[in-house]
Amino acid sequence: MMYHLPLLTSSEFATYLLNGISQGMIIFLVASGLTLIFGLIGLINFAHGALVALGGYGTLLIADATGSFWLGLFGAIALVALLGLVLERSVLHRVYERPLLGFLGTFGMYVVIEELISFQFGDQARQIASPLPGYVSFMGATYPKHRLLIIAIGFAVALGIGALLSYTRLGMEIHATATESETAEILGVDSARVYTLTFVIGAALAALAGGLTGPVTSVSPGMGMSYMILAFLVIIVGGMGSFKGSFLVSLIVGQITAFGWLFLQPTYVRLGVFVAAMVFILYKPRGFFGKPEVFE
């Protein structure tokens, strides 16, 4: 059965569609950690981009040393989560009540980490070997297996975080703390512990995004920041703090980007995405799922 856009064969359509989904998943993996941290703590975490890059480099180095991509990825996630724990407990928990300091503090962390990576490893992009090299056939098209892996892990993360928020004790405490932290504390919820755990999960998601996308996009000191801008857009349009919104808008932006390249140069596609987002926000300032209550 052939169904296609004008000028597109079904195999081309499938390729663009999958590109859009995998691109959306990469944005979502970066945005998910940001959304959790913003939704709960109200902190716009610029350091997130640096944690993405650290995840990429950590995966690269450990995979090179051990010969295993998976060991590299999980090792990098563990190390970056640990760094997240140290950053949150040493500095960030002091600035939650002071948004300007939070902005400056996390931006400072971003600059320091990115410069350290650049100093140590240079600015040139480096490639991570994929654990799933090669291609699969799909609707007459051949498609990189690693991109399918990104799509699968992206969906798994979305389901996992959704389940964490909906069905666990921590999810309930995150919801309560994000809504009204003082009332939650009265009920015995240790909000400091909830903040710390959430930040560590956010850091782990950043590392996952960096390590997993390394084989596709290559690894460089600024890799995180290039996704951060789209991730912020996704968070704003999805509705600040709405995990569901981030997921949906990531997929939409992925598709617009993929199919937009059919008609326009990438720069203009990106410009179009931002203009569309601005117009959308003018009419719906809280985004798709934004409410005073977060994590619906």
Partner: protein, 240 residues
């Protein structure tokens, strides 16, 4: 059960609580009354850790808890209610009670395991707090009286030994106040309760003992009949 000695709280040059002694006997309902500004809410805030005392000890289970954090104190078994009801507007009654119910053995890892539903316990509490049938209603849709009952239910879900109630009947009409009295009667003996309340009839009806607070110190403590007949109490509080 809970023994307060020499408790003092100064805000700069203002002495809000001065050398206060108060003893709660296990299982009693203890009324705490006094004119506005006498320091009733401050006393509760000092016990719960919301304020740090300047001096004095608060002994609970053989430990001085003065100055500990509110979360620590809540987890040790001292619950409280507020003058202004605190709740999550979009959350159902059931979720409030689930959140307030805690597994004392929980660890960091157990936060990631499927949560416990506490269905049986929650239904029992809802019945005690006159909220049966309202478990799946979101809090903002409850009447003011029901929101007060929710406040009581949330404290009960925390499995406290001691409960500090700050004006549990504030803003309630006559029949709702009567319901609060019935709820407290049902709780009698199961908990040690300190009840700060302006409705003197309610306090008299409920309390095993009453303490009168005046200018940050305890004026007198005794059975309700004795306290309301006390000449000084009549003068400073009852205005007779």
């Amino acid at each position: 059960m809970l023994s307060i000695e020499g408790l003092t709280k100064e805000f700069g040059s203002l002495v809000a609580i001065e050398d206060l002694d108060l003893e709660l006997e296990p299982g009693e309902i203890h009324g705490l009354i006094g004119p506005n500004g006498a320091g009733k809410t401050t006393t509760i805030n000092l016990i719960t850790g919301d304020l740090a005392p300047t001096r004095g000890t608060i002994m609970y289970d053989g430990e001085d808890i003065a100055g500990r954090s509110p979360t620590d104190i809540a987890n040790m078994g001292i619950g409280r209610s507020f003058q202004v009801v605190q709740y999550f507007p979009e959350m159902t009654v059931r979720k409030h009670l689930r959140l307030a119910s805690r597994d004392p053995t929980r660890t960091v890892l157990s936060a990631f395991t499927p949560r416990t539903d506490y269905t049986e316990k929650i239904e029992e509490i809802a019945e005690t707090a006159h909220l049966d049938g309202r478990l799946d209603t979101v809090a903002k849709n409850l009447s003011h009286g029901e929101q007060r009952f929710l406040d009581i239910a949330m404290v009960l879900a925390m499995d406290p030994e001691v409960i500090l109630f700050d004006e549990p009947a504030a803003g309630l009409n006559h029949s709702e106040t009567e319901e609060v009295r019935q709820i407290f009667e049902d709780m009698r003996g199961d908990y040690t309760m300190l009840v700060v309340e302006h409705d003197i009839d309610l306090v008299r009806a409920l309390s095993d003992r009453i303490s009168v607070l005046h200018n940050g110190s305890i004026l007198t403590t005794g059975p309700p009949s004795e306290v309301v007949e006390n000449e000084t109490v009549k003068e400073v509080y009852l205005g007779e």
